[in-house]
């Protein structure tokens, strides 16, 4: 047995090329045992490809992948202690639900009786016992999804790969399944590698998130970390909503950078690594960390005028224009407290950036 500090999956400089096209650029990342790990990125960024490399359906063009410390390149998919929940579920249409779930167990060498018994337990776990004798086509999308999950979990893999398993479900069911999945991961202690292009899903479910774009790892970290301290413009923009302002650095003192925004506005923020006086960079500020007020706050506020208020249920989104400068989005909670900070279109207001909320990005 491996000790708990050995990563479940260790990807070392792994690259994948299809002819001239590079789907995964030399990538290194370590996925810990018992972790709920999420691969997040826009469509076509290589999430499925990376998953298929781990499962064994794609060769690794360069570099290596280790599973609990051992190199797996030579192992065919059926010899890897890894199971997959496919994007389209891929339930065997000619088999009943019970046969589907017991398939892996039988292939592992369990007797049919034992396999069916364990499969029955798995179906109980996902609350589908009454459908055991149906065919996949006779189930709803959400039920099929749970069968796929039960089928992949039944052989007790050490790593479970989930390729956008919730993308076909409607919002309500998806939320319910998110909680169920998270639960299941905690209970079983199996390492989950979860693929999604939905940043909210990634933030709510993961222990750690790897943000990918165009076959490259952009940032790796805990959800809060990735959300609050994006490393570059792509991550800031892809995860959550943000205001990206082009700024010129006019001064750096005490690790604080003075940023000049078009229209003569000044914003102070923590100088990140690589920032120097005189350069231009981008400032990312989350809309919920901007405050509107009728009078300027003492820390310094920016003058702006309100363009429009958009009601989004829990929040009110205010679009405004900095005097002589770019547009900004501000989000205020839809509550009695928040109502005091909402102004009618056309009103002149002051915008305050919460302390520590602005983040300087140089690429």
């Amino acid at each position: 047995m491996t000790d708990s500090s050995t990563p479940a999956v260790d990807i070392e400089n792994a690259a994948k090329r299809y002819g001239d096209f590079t789907a995964i650029k030399s990538m290194s990342l370590s996925i810990r045992d018992n972790e709920f790990f999420t691969l997040l990125g826009p469509s076509g960024c290589g999430k499925t490809t990376l998953l298929r490399m781990i499962a064994g359906f794609e060769d690794v063009t360069e570099g290596a992948i280790f599973l609990f410390g051992s190199e797996i390149e030579q192992l065919p998919p059926n010899k890897r202690p890894v199971n997959t929940v496919f994007q389209n579920y891929a339930l065997f249409p000619h088999m009943t639900i019970l046969e589907n779930v017991s398939f892996g167990l039988e292939m592992q060498g369990n007797s049919r009786v034992d396999a069916h018994k364990r499969a029955g337990e798995m179906l109980e776990l996902v609350q589908l016992s009454e459908f055991a004798q149906r065919k996949p086509a006779q189930l709803s999308g959400g039920q099929q999804q749970r069968v796929a999950l039960a089928r992949a979990l039944a052989p007790s893999p050490r790593v479970l790969l989930l390729d956008e398993p919730l993308s076909a479900l409607d919002l309500k069911l998806r939320k319910a399944m998110q909680i169920e999945l998270k639960h299941l991961q905690r209970e079983t202690g199996i390492t989950f590698i979860f693929v999604t292009h939905d940043q909210e899903e990634a933030l709510t479910m993961s222990d750690r998130i790897a943000v990918m774009s165009a076959g490259e790892l952009q940032q790796l970290g805990e959800p809060r970390d990735v959300y609050e301290r994006p490393r570059n413009r792509f991550v800031a923009d892809f995860i959550g909503d943000t205001n990206l302002l082009e700024v010129a650095i006019t001064d750096i003192a005490d690790n604080l950078a003075s940023c000049h925004v078009q229209g003569g506005h000044q914003i102070q923020c923590g100088a990140s690594e690589g920032v120097s006086k005189g350069m231009t960079a981008h400032l990312s500020v989350r809309p919920e960390r901007l405050l509107l007020s009728a009078a300027p706050a003492e820390e310094g506020s920016l003058r702006a005028s309100v363009k429009e208020n958009i009601f989004v249920g829990t929040d009110i989104t205010t679009l405004l224009t900095l005097d002589g400068g770019p547009d900004l989005t501000v989000r205020t909670s839809n509550s009695a407290r928040g109502a005091a900070r909402v102004f009618d279109p056309g009103a002149d207001v002051f915008v305050t950036v919460e302390a520590g909320a602005a983040r300087l990005l140089i690429n």
Binding site: T48, A55, P77, N88, L91, F92, H94, Q108, K135, P136
Partner: protein, 277 residues
Amino acid sequence: MSAKTDVKAYRGFFTVTLICLFVLYAPLIVVTVYSFNDSLSITVWQGVSLRWYADVFTGVESAKFKTAAFNSFSIALIAATVSTLIAIASATALVRAGRFRLRLPSMGLIMLPIMVPEIVLAVATLIFFNSIGFTRGYLTILVAHISFCIPFAFLPIQARMQGIEDTYEQAAMDLYASRAQAFRRVLLPLMVPGIISGFLLAFIVSLDDFIITNFVKGAGVETLPTAIFGSVKQGIKPNIMAISTMLLAVSVIFVAVSYLAAKWDNTKSHLKTDPAR
């Protein structure tokens, strides 16, 4: 569909339908009806009887027809079985082996017997057998039938296979099945409707073949089509119509079975899903 845009609303729809049906089925109906004619003549109706059916089994030509029927059905059965097995293997290779350089030429080679005029194939087969000194007889017919049945068995199997996502096999292998197990437990069962349909098609094509059989058969070895042709050359007797009607019945049964096989397809319409990537 609204009644106004329905094809039935087109002028002349009914007439065209009648003409088509008439052209397609009139000869068959005539043969079927007259096979029950109680007359020596094939054109004068003299009342209903089964005498020509009895004649097929007990008449002067009955021995000849029995042997021919045995030859026809045994050859069709073996040829359909063997060609279906070959077709399963080729379809698996051509649909599942990804892109390889000789894929298109291979496909062309398999389909060739359908494209080439049958008479050319017949002559070629005959010359081939002669040149290797293969004595003409039952075996030459069988080998020739196997070879020209392959594309007919191949087509439905290939069509079926193309509709099966390869994620099913991947899912099977992901669940610890070896390649062979994934094929046997997942791919093969999913292909069954295509296989049945391919087998039936090959069977009918073999049963029905005349030109190639006539060229490669040895003296004295007859199949039903060549036996019927032999009889007809001495003048059409009503017993030929009885045999033809029985062959027609066999065909109808096969078509019906093939239709039921497609219906029995236990996977429903779940095969076409979005690719996983």
